[in-house]
Subunit: 404 residues, 2 copies
């Protein structure tokens, strides 16, 4: 089964809004085993939308139209679907009532154009399970199906999850279940990981029901996605567990998170597990690590805070909080000083050596005072972001191995 | 003239990489007065790329293909262009030499597949002015033109700017020059700006050569883009100056930047102009403002640093640096304390009132000690980002009006 995506809106062509929906849809179609060969963007022009729909009907089994379902004049997706399929639009009374109620309950006057959103092609169904006013559309046409969803990402995702992805899966006639698990790694390059995993990938190629994909994700590290096809949830969960275990044994201690887990979530979990507190001094990274840590610990229960001393004076003020003499490096002394300033168990420092053009990290605790130079690729912003994940990952390894 | 965009790569359809190129291209085509009605994404499948090219040749005057120019087996854009146009691919000796030299000069062995990148359709030109190995292609075909550019954004942008945009402009036969100027604002909602500018927009609609567009840009504020068409650079520059002046007089002191200028760049410029230094305490925003300020002042000449005191103890330690008694609010005292801690002219505080669920900002200097509650829409992350721009914008207004 092949499903095509048409994103509608002149603002998408003009680059005023990034079309992030199509890639989300592509990713999620793949995960239910539905092919997606075409994604297009078309402006708010009826003739061109109709042509795009006719072309899609000639080559695809299913079509998802995103956007153009609102109440204004340039929202013409409904009309274009009706025209392309030679269908009539019919007012769905239930949806019309809902829209009228949304206005009256807020004491607002409803202009007639809002009822446009209740028009559904004859034979189609309104998908109402979503947060906005405009319902989605599910319109079986001959042996194919046309869906329409709002362009607002969270409305689109809700309709896709509740109705369209299950409907597509059912239509595809496949009883196969597909599940993925993503291992987020930091520490190996893509080619190093590929080299380590080559025999594993060859083995998987023969097994047919399991695949392994590399997704380079920049500052979020390198993701390894394990995808398993099977007939029962239990069988698949077991297989994913086995593969994860095997892959971890091959690549070593570079996995910092699973699925959506970020490095900062993992650090927070580590701190909670071991009942440790952390503070940071960020010179090279200007608070980038703290923004990430602060987001997952807004009350500062485990992440006690940060100092960003940009001037010599402020660095000097901070260094008064350490007893370590100057035979320790400045980075180490800063890590120790910030730990004392915030009275935390661990102090993390990310600094910059102007002389070497390199960022340094140091970790201070009762048990350790370690330092590392970070030789990282990219320009200023990327080096900062890579420095943060490098520093947090080393911290993760230290905590998980009970070294701090 | 209408130019169509085809982005090539299975990873784009699978959502493994966001296609940001197409929207950049759409925006830049609009700015040279070339229409763009279609943008499509196609996987690494020769038949489907050939079909997409043939369709594009049937409806568009120009085509830009992005991606698929590399040396590996799934890079098949060149072959697809040759097939769709029934052309031969010919080895460009000069490009081949350049590629061979890139390998030999680094002492690396070049495998034969790398020479694929020197193959150009007969009648076409290699665009070499770019940083990677794969040249772009400019291939006039009948009365149309096909371009191919690498998918790597900075390579694509360089080739577009140096060669393709000027070539398209020339082919369009238009002598009209189109220039835009963007005013970045913070402080008015989109509907408020629209209301203030309604008479102005009506007046512009009659003038025909000037348009005004609103671009809601989230945490970067609301952009007003003035676009002027004319015959000479001087005439246009004059018109842009006039319109900017008039619009500023209508909307008041909400413009914080022009074109690519960010709020942090503007703040830094203000500090330089008045020879002032700044430091910050960020509780609600965990260093988000400091990351932005640090990026534009990496040596800390004007932005002296930041403290993020998440715990009561660290807040208490910081508050020891102010003389202000507790009849001043904590936010005001923190702004004053951080100013003293870093010995800077201005202290900025962004804090959070748990009781009210609202972020506060305070600014302390020799002349002022002011505070404001920030009632902002959105979830946690967006509220933080909006708080940063709100705080920096108020600071901008204070400095520019010589109040600090």
């Amino acid at each position: 089964m092949q499903c095509e995506i048409i994103a509608i809106g002149t603002e998408l062509l003009l680059g005023q809004i990034q079309d992030t929906n199509s890639s989300w849809l592509g990713e999620n179609l793949a995960l239910i085993g539905v092919d997606n060969y075409y994604q297009s963007k078309i402006g708010d022009n009826e003739e061109r939308i109709v042509d795009a729909l006719k072309l899609a009907l000639s080559r695809s089994d299913a079509i998802i139209c995103c956007g153009g379902l609102g109440p204004t004049q340039d929202d013409i997706t409904r009309e274009a679907i009706a025209k392309a399929t030679d269908s009539k639009l019919i007012l769905n009374e239930k949806v019309a009532e809902k829209i009228e109620y949304m206005f009256s309950s807020r004491g607002r006057h409803m202009t007639q154009n809002n009822l446009k959103q209740a028009m559904i092609p004859k034979g189609g169904i309104a998908i109402e399970d979503q947060p906005g006013t405009a319902p989605g559309i599910l319109f079986p046409f001959k042996n194919k199906v046309i869906y329409a969803v709002p362009g607002v990402p969270y409305e689109l995702k809700q309709i896709m999850r509740s109705t369209i992805l299950p409907d597509l899966k059912k239509r595809s006639g496949s009883t196969t279940i597909i599940k993925s698990r993503t291992l987020r790694t930091w520490g190996h390059t893509e080619s190093k990981l590929a080299e380590l995993l080559e025999p594993k990938i060859e083995q998987l190629n023969e097994s047919q029901n399991t695949t392994l994909a590399f997704l380079a994700s920049g500052i979020e590290g390198l993701k390894l996605r394990i995808t398993v096809k099977g007939e029962t949830e239990e069988e698949i969960a077991q297989q994913l567990d086995n593969e994860e275990k095997h892959i971890r044994s091959i690549i070593g201690d570079v996995v910092f998170g699973v699925n959506s887990e970020t490095i900062e979530q993992r650090i927070l979990k580590n701190l909670q597990d071991k009942n440790l507190t952390l503070s940071a001094v960020e010179i090279a990274t200007d608070g980038l690590a703290s923004t990430r840590l602060g987001k997952v610990d807004s009350l500062g229960k485990y992440f006690k805070g940060c100092i960003i001393p940009k001037s010599q004076l402020s660095k000097h003020q901070l260094l008064q909080h350490t007893q370590k003499e100057s035979d320790f490096s400045e980075t180490k002394r800063l890590a120790d000083a910030v730990r004392n300033f915030f009275d935390s168990d661990i102090g993390l420092a990310i600094t910059y050596s102007e002389k070497e053009g390199v960022n340094y990290l140091a970790i201070s605790s009762n048990n350790i005072l370690i330092e590392e130079a970070m030789k990282l690729p990219g320009d200023g912003v990327r080096v900062s972001q890579f420095s943060v994940i490098t520093a947090l990952n080393l911290l993760r390894v230290q905590i998980e191995n009970n070294l701090v």
